[in-house]
């Protein structure tokens, strides 16, 4: 990896005002501005502090179990016939997804800032259980907010979080409403740390989460160089708001020869089908009514990729052609889950099934030395009840 400064690098954080091109920024109430400023300063300080970064690396290794390995999906590759398909096995992380890398980074940041309590939102409950685990590990009380709709289908995460000692507040709706409600909690308690779960909301959250998750791509570089002697030709990852995808590709942003493909749930594809707007603290693409007063979008099996907005950085990168966007349907998620289970002995959750669906399509017919790496960012446990209900009989 070249250490020289690259001219016109796009591998950067947000600009001075928190923007990525014309997206991002801070669209927050005045009462949160001091918090956001404090957070930004704390973040910038922290990432210059070797001790802090060493601490993050230490717990990444020993608590989360990083690095997550890359894995050559040999039988799927053979079945599809074409490019070599790899998985980045983020599901092997503690708590079963990429989420704890972010919660670890931010809880350490909260600790460094002297915060005594944490608030967070969650969609699939993966962030919630990861956040609650992290807060327990460092002995900090935590309050989570989730939408009723999501709670119903990811019960295991709720139970685990409860056992870790987290308190949960359930609100009507889904992730959108959970974020709104969590921000309200923060407004009411500006001395808390707000632990956001993805690359969304106001600056500097997008940069913080991207910073933490970029470890995914960094590991990928090292691992591919070691195993294959070269980097993958394409990197594919799913996105709810985008932390998993951004983390997977950020490392390679200045290498345009590597294709970067983000996959959204067909029903909530903000990047593909959204319009520019200002909601939930940021300027980005949303699935929204024309007048901006309502969110749109249906429901996906992938609870974690069911967000009606997208990371502002990804909106920008998509506009400038640095990434490509695609979608996956519920039917495809199910089929891909089965394929992966039966051919690789890996039970992935619905979210990474979106990425792998796309990877399989792209692999077909490609040269044998072409490499496509899909990030497998979740394990199936949380979705198992739903799958059993839906397609249990298929497996008899």
């Amino acid at each position: 990896m070249s250490k020289e400064k690259i001219k016109n690098s796009i591998k950067t954080g947000s600009d001075r005002d928190g923007y990525f091109g014309e997206y991002g920024g801070i669209a927050a109430g005045e009462n949160l501005m001091a918090n956001l400023e404090e957070l930004k300063k704390a973040f910038e300080d922290a990432i210059k502090d070797k001790k802090f970064l060493d601490e993050f690396a230490y717990y990444c290794k020993h608590w989360i179990g990083r690095p997550s390995p890359i894995y050559f999906a040999e039988r799927l590759t053979k079945k599809i016939g074409g490019a070599k398909i790899y998985f980045k096995q983020e599901h092997l992380n503690h708590t079963g997804s990429h989420k704890p890398t972010n919660t670890l980074f931010q809880v350490l940041l909260a600790k460094r800032m002297g915060k005594k309590k944490i608030i967070c939102e969650s969609g699939a409950g993966q962030h919630w259980s990861a956040a609650a685990a992290t807060a327990a590990k460092f002995g900090i009380p935590i309050l989570g907010v989730m939408g009723k709709i999501d709670c119903a289908r990811v019960n295991q995460n709720l139970i685990k979080a409860k056992h870790y000692g987290g308190k949960l507040k359930v609100v009507e709706g889904s992730l959108r409403e959970a974020i709104t409600a969590a921000i309200k909690e923060w407004s009411n308690n500006p001395d808390y740390y707000y632990l956001i779960g993805s690359t969304c909301s106001s600056s500097p959250f997008v940069d913080i989460v991207r910073y933490a998750q970029s470890i995914i791509g960094k590991e990928m570089r090292e691992q591919f160089m070691e195993l294959e002697g070269k980097l993958p030709n394409e990197i594919v990852a799913c996105a709810g708001a985008g932390s998993n995808f951004t983390g997977s590709i950020f490392e390679f942003l200045d290498e345009p020869e590597i294709k970067k493909v983000v996959v959204e749930a067909e029903e909530t594809a903000a990047l593909t089908n959204g319009t520019k707007g200002i909601q939930q603290g940021m300027v980005t693409k949303f699935l929204q009514s024309d007048d901006g007063s309502k969110s749109l979008g249906g429901s996906s099996l992938g609870a974690g990729i069911m967000y009606y907005g997208i990371s502002p950085q990804l909106a920008h990168l998509n506009d400038i052609g640095a990434i490509e966007a695609s979608t996956a349907s519920d039917k495809e998620l199910l089929e891909t889950y089965k394929l992966v289970a039966q051919n690789e002995g890996i039970g992935i959750s619905f979210e990474p099934a979106a990425a792998i669906t796309e990877a399989l399509k792209r692999a077909k017919g490609k040269a044998k030395d072409y490499i496509i790496c899909a990030t497998a960012c979740g394990r199936v446990e949380k979705d198992l009840d739903v799958i059993e209900k839906l397609i249990g009989k298929d497996f008899e």
Binding site: D17, G18, Y19, G25, I26, A27, A28, G29, E30, N31, L32, M33, A34, N35, E37, R176, T180, I183, K184, S187, N188, N189, P190, T275, K276, G277, I278, Q279, Q280, G281, V283, Q288, D290, D291, G292, S293, K294, S295
Partner: protein, 250 residues
């Protein structure tokens, strides 16, 4: 006294009637909130009113119509549109400012648009050109450095938040309010209005005595409407309710 109304709550006609009676009762500035799902700064009372209007497809356009009708009723009352950036951005901004001017309103107040937001700057410049105000908020958490910067952007009057948090969520601490107003006065000669947490005429009186030039009543009025939706005399009763506030402020 400044009163906050959710536009077209419970519908256009009743909403207009309520505002008219409020003006008759002594409201000097009408804050008309335009409905949005993005009500992250609002407590449950106001949020529910927003949801009621959203279900009936009330838009910012309807809100501007309402503002125009209010102006037609009264030439002197202040009219400020209040809400979130989402709707204005999608309107889009320049058209909104044109329509706001056409409605002969006085300006607007945007909850989620700090001056760092480029779209806020765009809105502010457009409003300035039309001689309309972008009311800025100051919160207890606003730092001195920031307050100084903000003071250069004040226009019309200053909205002083009585506490950090969402509407209707906490009791007011009078000493804090006094401190806030004093802090802001150091930076501006514009009127300062205090909002959040004013539930009763007694609250209003206390806060008014804390040194501000006006008080803003929101949740309390919306709550009254919600609780009396079936009352045929609702506008009149809101008027009486507001008279009680105004009496305490004289």
């Amino acid at each position: 006294m400044i009163a906050y109304f959710v536009a077209c709550y419970p519908n256009f006609e009743q909403s207009l009637e309520i505002i008219k009676k409020s003006i008759d009762a002594g409201v000097s500035i009408c804050e008309i909130g335009f409905p949005t799902q993005e009500a992250s700064g609002e407590g449950i009372v106001i949020k529910n009113a927003h949801d009621h209007c959203l279900e009936r497809n009330i838009t910012l356009k309807d809100t501007l119509k309402l503002a125009r009708a209010v102006r037609d009723y009264n030439k002197d009352v202040g009219i400020i549109l209040m809400g979130y950036m989402s709707n204005i951005f999608r309107y889009p901004i320049d058209n909104f400012v044109k329509d706001l001017a056409a409605a002969d309103s006085d300006g607007c107040l945007i909850v989620d648009a700090p001056h760092e937001l480029k779209e806020e700057q765009q809105l502010r410049n457009a409003l300035n050109k039309e001689n309309l105000s972008l009311i800025k908020l100051v919160a207890p958490t606003t730092t001195e450095v920031r307050l100084k910067k903000l003071s250069k952007l004040f226009s019309g009057w200053v909205y002083s938040l009585n506490f950090s948090g969402i509407t209707g969520s906490k009791p007011v601490d009078l000493d804090e309010v006094k401190k806030m107003i004093k802090r802001i006065k150091n930076h501006t000669d514009l009127p300062i209005c205090s909002g959040f947490g004013i539930k009763s005429p007694e609250d209003a009186k206390k806060i008014a005595n804390a040194g501000c030039d006006g008080i803003i009543v929101g949740s309390s009025i919306v709550d009254f409407i919600t609780k009396n939706l079936d009352d045929t005399k609702l506008p009149e009763n809101i008027g009486k309710n507001i008279e009680n506030f105004v009496k305490e402020l004289r």
